[in-house]
């Protein structure tokens, strides 16, 4: 369980986080969706007790982060943005080192268990530096969860991976949630956001909206129309009154328009993607 309340943090006058509040329950995969520089990593660092917030409070695994950062650190798993593994150690040694930091007595058993659960056994004695990107990322994830944390923070766990590797990583993430962990994942991939139970859209250090992917799309549909014009010209469509955004798509033009836009015939209503939602909400953001 993660609970943030009005968390604020500035770096030299620039507000990286502006009164961010969110809640992640046990067994939930919660996505933090936003472009680079939105404040995703800053939030994860604050929640994991590495960075102090300027204002606001946060509870992780039942402990207040500001008051008991050490207690929080013992209960969480944190996979940093770069696949942080020791390349000159083997897969097994990497995992054993992590496990010993948290649970020295059960370390051996925990490593065996995670090796088989993550399918890393064939590579147990390979140097981490010799693994391919996908497997290294899998190892990074494995070492974040080897001690079975109650809360899991994953900072862009699939950056730079091919679609197949990404799918496997996401399967493993859901496995962790099924075990009962509260998982907070940051990403800037819209398609990945679809795989989360719930999402928060983070933009310029502020939460624009929170909800399930479906809720967010419904919210967007209540505020605007998402349309497609087969064979339309981009310039002509973009120039129409009430059109918020337009871009070429296949044999026609996709557009977002105001609810009351006076549009004529030939416009087909389409279901918005999360990217559409994001585009609309960031337009509305101050």
């Amino acid at each position: 369980m993660v609970h943030a309340e009005e968390v604020t943090r500035s770096f030299g006058g620039v507000k990286a986080l502006d009164r961010v509040s969110l809640f992640v329950g046990s067994g939930e995969v919660f996505g933090l969706l936003g472009p680079n520089g939105a404040g995703k990593t800053t939030l994860v660092r604050i929640l994991s007790g590495v960075l102090r917030p300027d204002g606001g409070r946060a509870w992780v695994a039942g402990l207040e982060v500001g008051k008991e950062p050490e207690g929080v650190k013992a209960r969480i798993g944190y996979a940093t943005q770069e696949a942080s593994v020791y390349r000159d150690l083997t897969v097994e040694e990497n995992l054993l080192f992590r496990a010993r930091l948290y649970r020295p007595k059960e370390a051996r058993a925990l490593v065996e268990e995670i090796l088989s659960r993550f399918g890393l056994q064939p590579y147990a004695r390979s140097l981490a530096g010799h693994l391919s990107g996908g497997w290294r990322q899998r190892l990074a994830l494995a070492q974040a969860v080897v001690h079975r944390p109650e809360v899991l923070f994953l900072d862009e766990p699939t950056t730079g991976l091919d679609p197949l590797s990404r799918r496997r990583i996401w399967d493993l993430i859901h496995q962790e949630a099924a075990r009962g962990a509260a998982v907070l994942v940051t990403t800037h991939y819209m398609d990945e956001a679809e795989r989360c139970h719930r999402l928060a859209l983070l933009y310029g250090g502020r939460v624009l909206a929170t909800g399930t992917p479906q809720e967010l799309k419904a919210l967007a549909q209540a505020r605007a129309r998402f349309l497609f014009v087969p064979g339309g010209s981009l310039e002509a469509v973009a120039a129409l009154p009430g059109v918020l955004e337009a871009w070429p798509s296949g044999e026609g033009v996709r557009l977002i328009a105001k609810k009351d836009a006076p549009l004529g015939e030939g416009f087909q209503e389409v279901a918005p993607s999360l990217e559409d939602v994001f585009a609309l909400l960031t337009r509305e953001a101050p």
Binding site: V50, K73, T80, Q81, S84, Y86, F97, R100, Y102
Partner: protein, 373 residues
């Protein structure tokens, strides 16, 4: 404690897995020792001599024999004229030139002084100083012999002052004896400071620090876990140098070994902390290397490792009090060569303890602040 050990073991594994580092750790100090012990010799021997002997009598023969004693000089060039002597030094065939004037024996018999012309290559002041001393000794020996002969014949009296020299601690002036305590100091400085600084900066550079910070590892555990392997390595290497010095070069350990180890421990503690301190200031491994050099250079030049502190200008003598290796080397030389104990060496040990405490305090304060952003 478990976490410290986990980190220390991980560190050991990484050192062992490194292809070059373990060999370097053992080879480098050993080579340094052999180099300083065998190759670099501050006691001059076989100084090449150019000689023009116009006398060719018993006096010049006695002088030549005295010069050859204890392998001080060797005759490298026999000149036909006095000018050729200087030329030989110019050309580098000889480094010392000697001209014995004609009729030396007759002059001595008449009770006159024989004016020997001596030319010493002064490009290296250290060499010139030692060559002059060796020449003077040879001439004194010849003088003494002549005077003894005269005294027996009842002709003259012996000189009123004659020194009877006792060189203490290292009577044979063996360079290795002088160097080995210094090498131990240098090895301890380089290994501890450099390796510690590098290992912490590497952690930051490879972004591993972030995930260690988010683990239950406390800052002081991180420092201890990082430092522990290098403490063991540095101590092992210091003992290796000590053992090599003892068995290969016969350097004695006349005082208490425990005192020696205590001084080394205090010094290593401070040096490791200095490594941590450098790591908090350096952001890349290259910066850490240069930071270590900045720290190690004064150690080499101001600790009395090679260059005698007594020969330095006042200002640098004062500066040398700020170099911890100075105290370590004093203790090492005191215990090994002089065989003195705590009663004499306590000020140096106190200085080492103060240094270590200060640097440890600074390092942990800076590290804590860096971690708690």
């Amino acid at each position: 404690m478990n976490r410290i050990l986990a980190l220390a073991e991980k560190e050991f594994l990484q050192i062992r897995r490194d292809r070059v580092l373990p060999r370097l750790i053992v080879l480098l100090p050993s080579l340094m020792l052999l180099l300083f012990g065998y190759a670099i010799n501050f006691t001059l021997k076989h100084i090449p001599l150019a000689l023009h002997d116009a006398a060719q009598d018993r006096i010049s023969q006695a002088l030549l024999a005295a010069l050859g004693e204890e392998e001080r000089f060797r005759l490298a060039y026999t000149a036909q004229t006095p000018e050729e002597v200087v030329e030989a030094v110019d050309r580098g065939r000889a480094r010392v030139g000697l001209v014995v004037p004609p009729g030396a024996l007759e002059r001595v018999r008449r009770g006159e002084s024989v004016a020997l012309e001596v030319y010493v290559d002064g490009t290296d002041p250290n060499f010139a100083f030692q060559a002059q001393a060796a020449l003077r000794r040879a001439i004194q020996e010849v003088n003494a012999r002549i005077q003894v002969g005269r005294a027996l014949a009842g002709e003259a009296v012996l000189p009123p002052l004659s020194p009877s020299l006792h060189t203490l601690y290292n009577p044979e002036n063996k360079t290795a004896w002088f160097m080995i305590p210094g090498i131990i100091g240098l090895v301890l400085t380089m290994f501890t400071v450099l390796l510690t600084a590098l290992s912490i900066v590497r952690e930051v550079e490879s972004r591993m620090m972030e995930s260690l910070l988010a683990s239950p590892l406390r800052p002081h555990e991180m420092v201890l876990g990082k430092v522990l392997p290098y403490l063991v390595i540095a101590f092992g290497v210091a003992l290796l140098v000590l053992a090599l010095g003892h068995w290969v070069f016969g350097v004695p350990v006349r005082g208490s070994l425990a005192l020696l180890l205590l001084a080394m421990f205090l010094f290593v503690l401070g040096s490791l902390a200095a490594g941590v301190l450098i790591s908090t200031l350096a952001r890349t491994q290259v910066q850490a290397v240069f930071g270590t050099y900045a720290y190690a250079f004064p150690t080499i030049f101001l600790s009395g490792f090679v260059f005698p502190i007594d020969g330095m200008p006042r200002f640098f003598q004062f500066l040398s009090y700020l170099v911890p290796a100075r105290y370590l080397i004093e203790v090492l030389r005191g215990v090994m060569l002089k065989g003195v104990g705590l009663g004499v060496l306590w000020p140096h040990l106190l200085a080492l303890a103060l240094f270590s405490a200060l640097v440890l305090f600074l390092a942990s304060a800076r590290f804590q602040r860096q971690v708690a952003v």
